[in-house]
Point group: C3
Chain length 153, copies 3
């Protein structure tokens, strides 16, 4: 079991079967050593985590939603790597989008829910560049969507 798998187990994170898009886009594309993973919404084991920060969702719930996006990203990375997370060299970049009301400004704190999980699972290789911005709405009403670029071997 890879270190990352061990840490996922210690954290009590069960990776979902990675969602397969139902359209003409795919969950990930590799080009050279870069793996691009499609935007993952905050879909958890109990369904879609919906809400708008600053309106009907607090920061803790937003962080949980961002963490779930990270779980879904990791599930896609694992699928792209034939099940072997030890082939992940680095989380390069996360693009975080938060469903937020116009007066909500704690956007970085929300996306930290994803950043923290990446480092908890991958250690220093989980430290990444990122952007964190707000959107007036997201697919299906999701609270958070995050896409990613990963360096893989």
């Amino acid at each position: 079991m890879s270190d990352a798998e061990t840490r996922l187990k210690q954290l009590g994170v069960a990776l979902p079967s990675p969602a397969a898009p139902v359209a003409n886009y795919v969950p990930f594309v590799r080009t050279g050593a870069s793996l691009y993973v499609s935007g993952q919404v905050s879909l958890g084991p109990d369904g879609l985590m919906k809400g708008r920060l600053g309106e009907d969702m607090d920061i803790a719930a937003g962080q949980a939603a961002a963490r779930q996006c990270a779980v879904n990203l990791i599930a896609q990375v694992k699928a792209a790597l034939g099940g072997d997370l030890s082939r992940l060299r680095r989380v390069v970049k996360l693009g975080g989008f938060v469903n937020a009301a116009g007066d909500f400004t704690d956007i970085p704190q929300v996306i930290n829910g994803a950043s923290d999980l990446m480092v908890a699972v991958f250690g220093d290789a989980g430290r990444h560049a990122r952007s964190a911005v707000a959107c007036p709405t997201l697919p299906l009403g999701a609270a958070v969507e995050i896409d990613g670029v990963f360096e893989v071997s």
Copy 2:
């Protein structure tokens, strides 16, 4: 004529002369095998396709706007490749931004207008990772903006 050119013709898609930005940015930059194309708005032969989903534009019109963004992306890729679309190896990633009201959640369906065209034109090489999010407004009031990363030879 490349396969992609043949399919464009069969689809009745005429590529526009690629728009040249009027500022200090450029339509595309190549680094290694990756071609980054600037965000293309829904500018069609009859002018800018303006509107806000969930307010004054329905999903079908939004899909047509997204499709037009894809047409404009392909025109830029062709220009970057010296006119030879057979040098496109893969559509790697599309970043889709939909001008949408706060209660509109069918964002993926809108961006499918672009994803579907990429696969219609490039086949499996057109399958891509993507993100799809909403914005409260877009340049000049455009309904959709999409940028892209492409692998080229």
Copy 3:
């Protein structure tokens, strides 16, 4: 002194000590020849440049905020390159996010504040692909956030 440093001096731009994120993400990650820099907000020497275009901030102020994001991006690039900006080969892509009211559409003009600085500092190597979109709010109420991809040696 590199050409870029000379131009920065001529422009009267003092690079700040690059901000270190206070969370589990980092200011930049290099993968191959690509340097990904985290989204930089419009934080200047006099504090955060806050505001919403089309509401309480005009285009000139927005351009100044975008320019400051570019200054902060350059500071991070310099840090990533061990202080030697001559190792920057190309500004590849800027992702621009403008805090804007729903009826504001001059988003490209705002982001030009960043694009113009890149070309003023780096010449042709500063010409980049970009996207420019709006957000209903940004971290801490910043007026602009911009992330970037750079080709480095």
